[in-house]
């Protein structure tokens, strides 16, 4: 019987009622009294020297309150970068200043040059057009390898376009080279991990507000982590102490990483609200989102896999160019390094690994974390090169993988790339996959497709990811400039209802439902007795927010810890009320009882006693029932799984159709299966989108060619199939109290190689054996050209 409430139940989402009835409260739904509107004048060229910005005419336009340029921000800091990477020679990465409005130079199309604040948005827009720019165009650097080679500099003052040249594990380099020299077989693959635009459906919005009577600043913003924004913007940009700055991220319409970062517009409207003593609101258009929201991926990689004659992996060596764009976005340096290099062991026992990453500045939008962040890049290259190796060596791709798996009895497993996998069972997820994907029936389906003139292919692969970022002391050593714990306050009210204030943030993940399920289960009360509050620094403890599939693993753990403190105290109160020893008190189904007796007191009575402490051990125990906990994980979590994609390729046109997609995941314990499956579905669509449709494209002058939904192909309902997903293989995480691993990114990490493997398989089965790789997105044009050779 599936459970109907608590942990393990597919409880319906309580947040849905407001979203379905049009009563969500997204940032753009908010309007403050006396609000003015901000519009940003944005760079139309990718690289230019700014001689002068003349705002005289614009400032005189109807309704214009003020026009801000870089000079107005000369007294405040630039946008900070939250992660410092140290290169292979022990030097700190190059870290250029990231101004709020362009200073002296334009470095990418879309960069904010001036902010116009007016009575209406239309007036601000009209005034933006009246600003006269005197600029001298410079040649743009767009191609990463060209940028790395020198020539035109994106930032003249730092002297190079190479942000860092990172080696990992640098001490392994010589041994890796030796292993390659000895190997029986080496498979080499050069590939591109295409640049993507995250595209949460809600564009970014920021509203700054200032109360001069209390010197209080408030920023309402579309963020995945309001406390992080408060810290970064307050401490590093505007110099506002936290107690004078409140950041609110109400309902947020998706993020996928792109709403982690601190963006210039947030600081600009907060600053302007104080200057003008009026609320200032900015709403991004979609076109603006394409040229201002941090992009994702954009790696160019050469990977080599060394094998012995039986197919055992001996070593992996990679060289990657990673695009940083024009400036370092908040967590950009960590993505191609620590979130990528540490995953290069995959699900396999490869004794020697060396990863080299050259991060490069170019005249493009900053690039940062996007769903999966580094781990999709690692998985794609690894799972593609394994498929290629299997083909070259005449081995079955599944058997080759199985042979190299970390075996179920080998956990905890120390990889050669620093991380230690706590649990997993890769054979089990592979077995499950072969079953749910009906691999046995593939041949019959292929024959059917062949009759219709279509080439059918099957692509399989595994993935592993590191989630639940992260042990603070570890990431501190790796360059993080923040702690990565999470927090929760569990507040029990006098009549027994509970409010949990969490530092995690939901922007589609359903925390209001799942977190309540956990608390209800722990205490044995109804889920509707529990309310979850998130998204406002004024009423939640300092927490690092939601990304990297960390909410339940880290935020949920903090909440469990706080709830346990509450329960321990409640037991003391119950022991007093029942005149029993605390050690004998048991909590079950919402009642405290004395072991071995029929004496009990219910949850509500204990709560009431805590707040109306008439019969209460006041000398030993404070009244009240409210606890806060912080949780700093001792390790990452390692969700893993196996995915299968079946495609049909039309050899006449190159069009790829996804016929079926199956995913067998191990997320450890699962709190709400319905929500977990939904997370996988969404990730799969994004991964399929990356594989077949999506790609940010710039011309050689740095003009964005894919700047709207007309030319950036988002997956739509008829581009994707129904998915078959399974999460019944569960090896619970050993180091967090819920045994959960995280499920938000798996789909986006595991699916791109499955799609590409399937297309290559289809071509080979169809006799088109000269094609060993096609770069994503696999558009009909690219596939057709590959077929033609």
């Amino acid at each position: 019987m599936p459970k109907d409430h608590g942990i393990g139940a597919s409880s319906k989402r309580r947040e849905d009622v407001r979203f379905l009835s049009g009563r969500g409260r997204y940032t753009d739904d908010m309007n403050l009294a006396r609000q003015a509107y901000a519009v940003f004048l944005r760079a139309q060229v990718a690289h230019a020297k700014i001689n002068k910005i003349d705002t005289t005419d614009a400032a005189a336009m109807p309704g214009v309150i003020r026009v801000f340029t870089a000079q107005d921000f000369s007294g405040v800091g630039g946008l900070p970068c939250g992660w410092q990477v140290t290169d292979r020679h022990g030097n700190a990465m190059l870290e250029p200043k990231h101004p709020i409005l362009a200073e002296g130079k334009i470095r990418y199309v879309g960069e904010a040059l001036a902010m116009i604040v007016a009575e209406t948005e239309a007036q601000a827009r009209d005034a933006a057009e009246a600003i006269v720019m005197d600029v001298e165009d410079l040649p743009a650097v767009v191609d990463m390898k060209a940028a790395a080679a020198g020539g035109t500099l994106v930032h003249d003052d730092i002297g190079s376009n190479l942000c860092y040249d990172w080696g990992f594990v640098e001490d392994n380099k010589a041994a890796v080279d030796e292993a390659f020299a000895r190997a029986d077989h080496v498979t080499t693959l050069e590939l591109v991990n295409n640049r993507l635009a995250p595209n949460p459906m809600e564009p970014r919005v920021a509203i700054g507000d200032y109360d001069f009577s209390t010197d209080q600043h408030t920023l309402y913003t579309t963020s995945q982590n309001p406390h992080v924004i408060r810290l970064l913007m307050g401490a590093f940009v505007l110099g506002i102490p936290e107690h004078k700055l409140r950041v609110v991220a109400p309902d947020v319409g998706g993020g996928f990483g792109s709403k982690i970062f601190h963006y210039a517009e947030e600081a600009a409207v907060t600053f302007a609200a104080k200057e003008l003593r009026r609320p200032v609101k900015w709403t991004s258009t979609r076109s603006e989102a394409f040229i201002t929201d941090a992009h994702g991926r954009d790696h160019v990689t050469k990977i080599e896999l060394a094998l012995d004659k039986d197919g055992h992996f001996q070593a992996i060596r990679t060289e990657t160019f990673a695009n940083m764009g024009a400036y370092l976005s908040t967590f950009a340096p960590s993505v191609p390094t620590w979130l990528h290099g540490t995953l290069m062991a995959g699900n396999y026992k490869t004794p020697l690994i060396y990863v080299n990453v050259k991060a490069v500045f170019t005249n493009t939008v900053p690039v940062d974390a996007y769903r999966g962040a580094g781990r999709p890049e690692a998985t794609f290259q690894l799972e593609r090169v394994i498929d290629k190796a299997a083909r070259e060596m005449g081995m079955d791709p599944v058997e080759l993988r199985r042979k190299n798996f970390v075996q179920p009895d080998e956990f905890p497993y120390q990889t050669p790339v620093a991380v230690v996998y706590d649990t997993g069972n890769y054979q089990a997820t592979m077995d499950k996959l072969l079953d749910i994907a009906d691999v046995a029936g593939f041949e019959a389906r292929r024959a059917e497709s062949a009759e219709a003139g279509k080439l059918r292919g099957l692509g399989l692969n595994c993935y592993i990811e590191a989630c639940g970022i992260a042990p603070s002391n570890l990431v501190g050593q790796l360059g993080a400039r923040a702690g990565l714990y999470e927090s929760a306050t569990v507040r029990v009210n006098a009549t027994g209802g509970i409010v949990v204030m969490t530092g995690s943030h939901s922007h589609g993940q359903g925390h209001e439902t799942t977190f309540a399920q956990v608390i209800a289960d722990m205490i044995g009360i109804a889920e509707n007795q529990v309310e979850i509050v998130h998204g406002d620094t004024a009423n939640t403890p300092m927490g690092m927010g939601t990304y990297g599939s960390r909410s339940l693993a880290v935020g949920g753990s903090a909440m469990v810890r706080a709830a346990n403190k509450v329960i321990n105290k409640a037991k003391k109160i119950a022991a007093h009320l029942l005149e029993a020893s605390e050690a004998d008190i048991e909590l079950k189904d919402g009642a405290f009882s004395v072991a071995g007796t029929d004496k009990s007191v219910d949850w509500g009575s204990v709560c009431l006693a805590a707040y109306v402490p008439h019969n209460y051990p006041l000398e030993d125990l404070e009244p009240g029932l409210e606890e806060t906990a912080f949780y700093d994980p001792s390790n990452f979590t390692y969700p893993a799984g196996a995915y299968a994609c079946e495609v049909e390729v039309d050899p006449e046109t190159g069009k790829v159709t996804i016929c079926a997609f199956a995913a067998a995941d191990d997320f450890g314990n699962v709190v709400n299966p319905m929500i977990v499956e939904g997370q996988v579905h969404g990730g799969l669509a994004q991964g399929i989108g990356q594989a077949l449709l999506e790609g940010v494209s710039y011309d050689e002058n740095g003009q964005l060619l894919s700047g709207s939904y007309m030319d950036y192909a988002m997956p739509r309902a008829d581009d994707v199939p129904s998915y078959v997903v399974d999460h019944s293989c569960q090896t619970p995480c050993t180091h967090n109290p819920l045994g959960v691993k995280g499920c938000g990114e798996a789909g986006a990490i595991g699916s791109p190689p499955a799609v590409v493997n399937a297309v290559i398989d289809a071509l080979h089965r169809g006799g088109i054996t000269h094609v060993t790789h096609i770069d994503m997105p696999l558009t009909p044009g690219r596939v057709w050209s590959a077929i033609q050779g």
Partner: protein
């Protein structure tokens, strides 16, 4: 500024607008009906879909003045008279057809228009009809399932998990 009147969710509403005011802006700013969303500026995403005289319309592509006198229905008007969720809305909740909720009002309005035209659509027909509605969160699987369920059809046809 000109005065425009229309019936919105069964009530007559009016407001002063500029000639260039889009229907979506009139609904959101003029009437405070913020359930209708704006997800793009090229008429591609469908977050803004409402019904005008019973037809699904992208409210970001029509001027408010052009629908003067029309019957407009928005997501706020899709519930039952007692305030509970209507059949399609309820199916979206039952089948987890939404995550962040941003595309959801447009999805529900499109789904309602589809079912009015085609009460028992196939999975392929649903997917095809949703061409103009982008969802970045759900991967569409559960949206398709919800619409199937709302039409009273068996959802096991949509691949089981």
């Amino acid at each position: 500024m000109t005065k425009v009147s229309m019936t919105v969710n069964g009530r007559s509403m009016s407001g002063d607008i500029e000639g260039r005011t889009l229907l979506v802006d009139f609904l959101r700013q003029g009437l405070g009906l913020t359930g209708t969303h704006v997800g793009c500026d090229t008429s591609q995403c469908g977050a803004c879909v409402v019904h005008v005289d019973g037809k699904a319309v992208k409210s970001c592509t029509v001027f408010a003045a052009d629908v003067a006198g029309a019957e407009v229905t928005t997501i706020e008007g899709m519930g039952n008279p007692d305030g509970s969720l209507g059949v399609i809305q309820q199916a979206f909740q039952d089948h987890h057809g939404l995550q962040c909720g941003f595309c959801t009002p447009g999805m529900v309005m499109s789904a309602a228009a589809l079912l009015a035209e085609n009460p028992k659509p196939t999975e392929a027909e649903i997917r095809h009809y949703l061409e103009g509605n982008i969802c970045r969160c759900t991967g569409y699987h559960n949206i398709v399932k919800a619409i199937m369920a709302a039409s009273g059809q068996d959802v096991s046809a949509v691949a089981a998990e």
